[in-house]
């Protein structure tokens, strides 16, 4: 999974680079320039500077095309917010520390581990869970169903989501690319054979083959 690659920082919009730009760089600029520019720079910096949030916060998230409001704490993860506050229970909580992929959710087009993503950081972003995926014959869920790429099914939402994100990026994956694309997910029942078959079948179906 590419969620934590530096190259994706620009897409995700909450990167280490942004953090540096927002704080020390802005301060340094203020020293070097005149009063007027400083004020503008400071105002700009204030927008991107890290804010201290505390207590209970009312937030609105764009989930599967709908605006959903709820109350969270700054520490509330995207996963717990989806599951415990919005009843979007497709993504599952399994390891709760970004090892197993069961919580995989697509944020602004990029698959992320929602168990280690803060809900407050997802405001204004497009959040997609597998509940919004096409369940027809051209969709990933259908391929998992037909190829029995699931048993107990608790890892399945993560695999289906990672698979969808992979195919959106690479509609023509080889078996090895599918393996690598799904290596951020763990299944305990051992359904990998069905999962791999399903991913390749879904790639075909999505192309209308």
């Amino acid at each position: 999974m590419a969620a934590h690659d530096l190259k994706d920082d620009a897409v995700r919009g909450h990167s280490r680079r942004d953090f540096l730009r927002g704080s020390s760089v802005a301060a340094a600029t203020a020293v070097l320039t005149g009063q007027a520019t400083t004020a503008i720079e400071e105002a700009k910096a204030a927008e991107s500077e890290p804010k201290v949030l505390s207590g209970e916060l009312k937030i609105t998230l764009q989930v599967n095309g709908e605006s959903r409001s709820c109350t969270v704490e700054p520490r509330s993860t995207l996963l717990d917010t989806l599951r415990h506050r919005l009843d979007v229970t497709g993504p599952k909580r399994v390891c709760d520390r970004a090892s197993c992929g069961a919580c995989t959710t697509i944020v602004d087009g990029v698959p992320v581990y929602s168990c280690t993503t803060l809900a407050v950081a997802c405001q204004g972003k497009k959040i997609e869970t597998l509940e919004s995926f096409d369940t027809g014959p051209a969709g990933v869920p259908h391929a998992f169903h037909q190829h029995d790429g699931l048993m107990c099914g608790y890892c399945t939402p993560g695999f289906v989501t990672a698979c969808k994100a992979l195919l959106d990026k690479n509609p023509n994956p080889t078996l090895d690319e599918v393996r690598r694309g799904l290596d951020g997910n763990i299944c305990r029942c051992g359904t990998y054979i069905g999962v791999l078959e399903a991913a390749l079948a879904a790639a075909k179906a999505m192309k209308g083959a």
Partner: protein, 723 residues
């Protein structure tokens, strides 16, 4: 005498599971997904110490925390905490975040006591005696024949110590349930369990009410593997908290660390084995001294000798207690351990004799190894079946072309090797389960039973059987399970669900069909005997006459409902299988990669070939995990588990999965036996076959599982005299 249809349309075909699309689209509601109105979140406080006494516990500050609605103390003052992860208290609060804060605010004063967390620590003469009756309980040896004498006369003897570590279940959905109490008289629970009826009984017991007043719901569930048979202290406390909080639902699911620590594990196994044979490779005697730990609960014994015919044997097992979570049944309890140790010793003996591993196995099968046939009193000799399986497996792995004797796998750094192992299991059914089948005037059909689908496809199998009898499609059947108030159903354990539930399901559907025929025959101006069902049509004298739906309308206002019971002749018990593994070992890094596995398995009559194959693939991949990765690591100094997570507790990912060839050994003789379960057998031999392939590749036995780089490099070093 009951019998399966002779020419089935559905049974034995590949039918995708009924709930597959719901699961694959995130719409299926697991017990941990359910959040009834007003739900409070429960969080468990558990012991950070391996051995301690609670000197005092103060919840006053926690009770005043925001959102906290109730606290139940499980281990009060003076109570012993016997392992890291042992329960102390559960807090219920409006949000999970608030419940976690309150858990941190509970003040516990511990008297920390000395601990033993590993077998060697516990077995040391100077070890603190931390368990009543001593840390080690040794059972008397079970002796058959004259093993000492026979071993002395043996032409060749191997002696070795083999060991498998404790591993944990790692159910992806944690243990837990959401409980809603209605006063003191009724409870509803959404439980992640493999036994709805057991959970109902347990909750009823703790509330002192009738199990009929408890409804346990398990629509789907996220894995159990033998560790989820009860409500547990967590579920019982959730119910208690719900009662305490005025009937608000309380949701308690464990965090991942406590899952590893407290929710069950597979015991370790160590065996010191002496195995002797005559020159021709025929086993003459085995003497084995074994031990293992099931933590604070015991249960580490395992079958040994295993599979092979030994006229002379002695086996003594010692149960070692350690300060770690209690063992629970795990997928074929005891068998993977017994299989690994037996098959390793046998392979070492074959290597010493310079004998082909397949040949020595065939040579040592019992002349007669009878298991049950299709009916009471009938038997089948398993030995020719094993022989046929070995022949087929050897062909599929390419044994004849690829096999080289141990240590003769080239001079390169990366070496290839082949290994083989056999296993056996029961997998029979319970005779006291029931299924109801209802045919409604609108044409809908519903079957009900208080069993559940642990992931094997139980729901789909019941629908297939019903659809087979009624001439419908499996998707036409509402297969309603996972509810403790339904007719008594089987727990999902021991590979017994399908053999227990299929016979009463066939009976229910057959009885319902007969009642249906009797009811509609007059409306069709014919006799019931002239009617049959096929392709969604009612046939009269072999001619399609009326659609199923139209015929059902003739029922008027009254549905037909029949309850089926178990009948002899539809299921059996006792299976065997063999597995072959091909591996590649990097002798510089110690990294083992499995390249190919062949699994041959019999399980009588197969209902759904698709989910059957998934179970066998899954069993093999589980075995690959035991073979290569899994290991609970305890720190002797601090007494804590070092890998209670999912990154250092390793499990296979997509890139670790080799080519896997699965074949059903499904002869007419096997089909005639009826249904036998398959959840467990195919996970038994894999780790043994992998280890034998590693030894074959590198020329030295890696005696300790898993086949991790550390264990492989240690074995290579000992071969070079560097250990």
């Amino acid at each position: 005498m009951a019998a399966w249809p002779k020419e089935p349309r559905l049974i034995g075909t590949k039918v995708p599971r009924l709930d597959g699309l719901a699961k694959a689209s995130g719409k299926a509601k697991y017990p941990s997904d359910v959040r009834p109105e007003g739900t409070l979140f429960g969080v468990v406080l558990y012991s950070p110490h391996a051995n301690a006494t609670v000197k005092s516990i103060d919840t006053a500050a926690a009770e005043k925390m925001p959102g906290v609605k109730g606290i139940v103390v499980i281990a009060g003052q003076g109570k012993k905490l016997r392992f890291q992860g042992d329960d102390i208290a559960i807090v219920a609060a409006e949000t999970e975040e608030q419940a976690r804060d309150a858990v941190r605010a509970i003040k516990v004063d511990y008297e920390v006591l000395p601990h033993c967390v590993t077998e060697s620590q516990s077995m040391d003469e100077k070890a603190p005696q931390v368990f009543d009756g001593g840390n080690v309980r040794k059972a008397r040896a079970i002796v058959k024949g004259k093993p000492e004498e026979a071993l002395e006369k043996a032409d060749v003897v191997v002696e070795g110590t083999y060991s498998l570590p404790v591993i944990t279940h790692v159910c992806l959905e944690p243990h837990g349930l959401t409980a809603q109490a209605e006063g003191s008289s009724k409870i509803t629970a959404w439980a992640s369990t493999q036994a709805v009826t057991v959970v109902a009984g347990e909750l009823a017991g703790s509330f002192n009410i009738s199990p009929a007043d408890v409804t346990v719901l398990t629509e789907v569930m996220g894995g159990g593997f033998g560790s989820k048979f009860g409500a547990d202290i967590w579920g019982r406390t959730a119910a208690e908290l719900s009662k305490k909080c005025g009937g608000r639902p309380v949701k308690v699911f464990l965090d991942r660390a406590q899952e590893h620590l407290a929710a069950g594990n597979r015991p370790s196994a160590t065996g010191h084995v002496k195995l002797g044979a005559s020159k021709d490779g025929k086993l003459v005697a085995m003497i084995a001294e074994t031990y293992g730990t099931g933590g604070v609960r015991g249960g580490s014994n395992f079958p040994l000798p295993y599979v092979y015919d030994l006229k002379n044997s002695s086996r003594a097992h010692a149960e070692v207690s350690v300060n770690a979570g209690g063992a629970r049944a795990m997928r074929a309890p005891g068998h993977p351990q017994g299989c690994a140790i037996m098959e390793a010793a046998l392979d070492d003996l074959a290597a010493k004799l310079g004998m082909d591993p397949v040949e020595i196995r065939v040579k040592n099968l019992a002349e007669v190894d009878n298991v049950r046939g299709g009916r009471q009193g009938e038997t089948i000799n398993r030995t020719p079946m094993y022989e046929a399986q070995l022949k087929l497996g050897a062909e599929l792995i390419g044994w004849r072309d690829k096999y080289k004797p141990r240590g003769e796998n080239g001079k390169g750094v990366v070496k290839r090797g082949l290994g083989v192992a056999l296993h056996q299991w029961g997998g029979g059914g319970a005779a006291d389960k029931q299924v109801s089948c209802t045919i409604n005037p609108d044409g809908s059909v519903e079957i009900k039973s208080a069993t559940q689908d642990i992931g094997t496809g139980a729901r789909t199998i019941l629908a297939m059987i019903t659809a087979e009898v009624l001439g419908l499609k499996p998707t036409d059947i509402k297969s309603n399970i996972g509810n403790s108030t339904f007719p008594p159903g089987q727990s999902s354990g021991g590979s017994t669900t399908t053999p227990s539930m299929s016979p009463p399901c066939l009976a229910a559907a057959t009885q319902a069909r007969a009642a249906f025929f009797n009811k509609i025959a007059p409306a069709l101006s014919t006799d019931a005997e002239t009617l049959s069902l096929k392709d969604g049509q009612v046939w009269v004298n072999g001619e399609p006459t009326m659609s199923w739906k139209d015929a059902c309308r003739k029922l008027g206002m009254a549905s037909i409902s029949e309850t089926g019971k178990f009948a002899d002749g539809l299921s059996s018990v006792g299976v065997g299988g063999c597995q072959f593994a091909e591996v590649e070992v990097d002798t510089e890094t110690g990294v083992v990669r499995v390249k190919k596995i062949v699994a041959i398995q019999d399980s009588g009559l197969i209902i759904d070939k698709l989910t059957w194959e998934s179970q066998v693939y899954g069993g093999v991949i589980g075995g690959l995990n035991y073979g290569l990765f899994e290991e609970r690591v305890m720190d002797p100094t601090t007494g804590v588990m070092l890998n209670p997570d999912m990154e250092l507790y390793k499990l296979a990912g997509a890139s670790d999965i080799p080519e896997i060839i699965v074949r059903a050994y499904e002869t007419e003789e096997m089909k005639n036996r009826g249904v036998i379960g398959v959840g467990e057998p195919p996970t038994i031999a894999t780790a043994a076959a992998i280890a034998n392939a590693v030894a074959n590749a590198i020329g030295v036995r890696v005696p300790d599982w898993p086949m991790s780089p550390r264990n492989v490099l240690n074995a290579l070093a000992s071969k070079e005299g560097k250990a």
